[in-house]
């Protein structure tokens, strides 16, 4: 297991945001967390990244206990997150945002770095067109691409994607999901949080359903996609 989450509990004040969450992410897989708004998906990701304090439980990355590691040290271990919504730095250009993604890397003047930039531009040609534009002036979809590309610039072993399809036009949603598959095929493990359950389950090796802060179902993507109660609750009965 590349990532292990054991009995994780996180509170916001006196309110329990997530309760006793346990799951693992296999190296090389796509794992997805699906659930309604407020189910605790984003909190789970933020806790794995180190942005939220843990009340109980542990987070292990590659066997190492990182529960109390500050977020910036987790990035160095190979954990990278594309935050929910428009998580780009609005006053920075596309290129500067991508450079921020590689903040912890020390090889920014090498061909390897340029190759990683090229790879991001290959995945998202739109970013190359706008390389000197301020991120804050781009559309929501373009900013979403930038956030994903930026997360890849850290050269992560595990990338956490928080609602990558949120606010996108339908034709872009399909495109973003095929890019996620491509990223995974190139060797990066993916932990994906989504409201678009149909697409997420289609591509996930394993999937977990969150309801009010707890995992209520787990299985492979195909199993859950084929389950009647899951279809009724999350897929609108139509995959």
């Amino acid at each position: 297991m590349l990532l292990e989450v054991e009995g994780l509990c996180v509170n916001y004040g006196h309110i329990e945001a997530i309760r006793d969450i346990t799951f693992g992410v296999e190296e090389g897989s796509i794992t997805t967390l699906i659930g309604a708004n407020g189910a605790g998906k984003t909190t789970t990701l933020k806790t794995i990244s180190g942005l939220r304090k843990v009340r109980a439980g542990r987070v292990l990355f590659d066997g190492k206990d990182i529960t109390n590691l500050p977020p910036y040290d987790r990035v160095k271990l190979g954990l990278s997150q594309s935050p929910e919504g428009r998580g780009c730095f609005p006053g920075m250009t596309v290129r500067e945002n991508l450079d921020m993604g590689a903040y912890v890397r020390s090889d920014r003047r090498t061909p390897a770095y340029q190759a990683d930039l090229d790879r991001v531009f290959e995945l998202f040609p739109r970013l190359l067109e706008r390389v000197n534009q301020a991120a804050g002036t781009m559309s929501g979809g373009e900013q979403q691409m930038l956030a994903i590309g930026r997360a890849l610039m850290a050269k992560p072993r595990l990338v956490l994607l928080d609602e990558p399809s949120m606010g996108l036009a339908p034709k872009f949603i399909q495109q973003i999901f095929s890019i996620i598959s491509e990223i995974n095929a190139q060797g990066t493990t993916v932990l994906l949080v989504e409201q678009n359950a149909a697409q997420a389950l289609k591509r996930a090796d394993s999937a977990h359903i969150l309801e009010t802060g707890e995992i209520v179902r787990s299985g492979t993507g195909a199993e859950l996609a084929g389950d009647d109660s899951v279809r009724a609750a999350y897929l609108g009965g139509d995959v």
Partner: protein, 338 residues
Amino acid sequence: MDFGALFGSLDNFLSFTMGGLVFGAVYALIALGYTMVYGVLQLINFAHSEVFMYGTFAVAWMFIFLHGTESVTWSLGKAAPILVAALVGAMLLSAAIALLLERFAYRPLIRKGAPKLIALISAIGASFALAEAMGLRDRFADKLGLSDNLENYVAPGKARDVFSNPVTIQPKGLFEVGGYTVSDVDLVILAACFIMMIALDTFVRRTRFGRGIRAVAQDPETAALMGVNSGRVVQVTFLIGGLMAGAAATLYMMKIGSTRQNAGFILGVKAFTAAVMGGIGNLRGALVGGLLLGVMENWGSAVFGSEWKDVVAFVLLVLILLVRPSGILGESLGKARA
């Protein structure tokens, strides 16, 4: 009201303008400290005025240490070696005070998620404590057995009086602009201000750590996800503000030659005004605001009389904010375009 005093001759006009620019350069360097901390923490570092004031004393102490307490008048050239040492000393002491403020007056509060208002109260407290500590330096010197060496500079009961630098620097006219003689001191002050502004601007815009500072200013949580240690960014922000205030203190002592334990207050308020006028959180705004404030208040004092100088400065602040509530350049450090 006497517009003739300002506009009557080109000579007068340039003289007041130049004098204003020189003061404005000092305001701008102090304003940087307010604007950087605000950009990163959205916090007014009210005690930054004391960071500057300690710098002015570091300059005077360096002159006493390297020259002695005998009052003399030197040319800029002759004072230059000690001035360089004083610059280093002032930058170090001011930076140290700024870092101590961050560590003890702000960090514990921010860690606990205290509202910004609480941090402001803490800043005001720290400001008074620092100023009063400087006002008690005769007692400290006495305890350390230094009173004899320093004579009247720390004579009992004199610590609250004006403290004059033993070395008075006599400016030398270099060239004339429309009848106004530009002195070497004026030129050094303006040049130092511009060099430091350009260096800082380049650091923030072009270096990796500078990008980290801008990232924290724009979105601290996302910056953490990129691997930026925001605690370190905050420290460096205070450090830079302190270094700049120390430089400003040296330039100020070159020009004015005296200070006292409450010297930071009015300069701090002016520099803060300059930062707000230029657009708080914006580095270039600090320069624009500082120079503009210096010039306008000098013009104001020519027209209305020098006792109206501060009134002109603050009326100007109100007028500018009425027209442009976010300041002249507006955008913050965070939103600053590349």
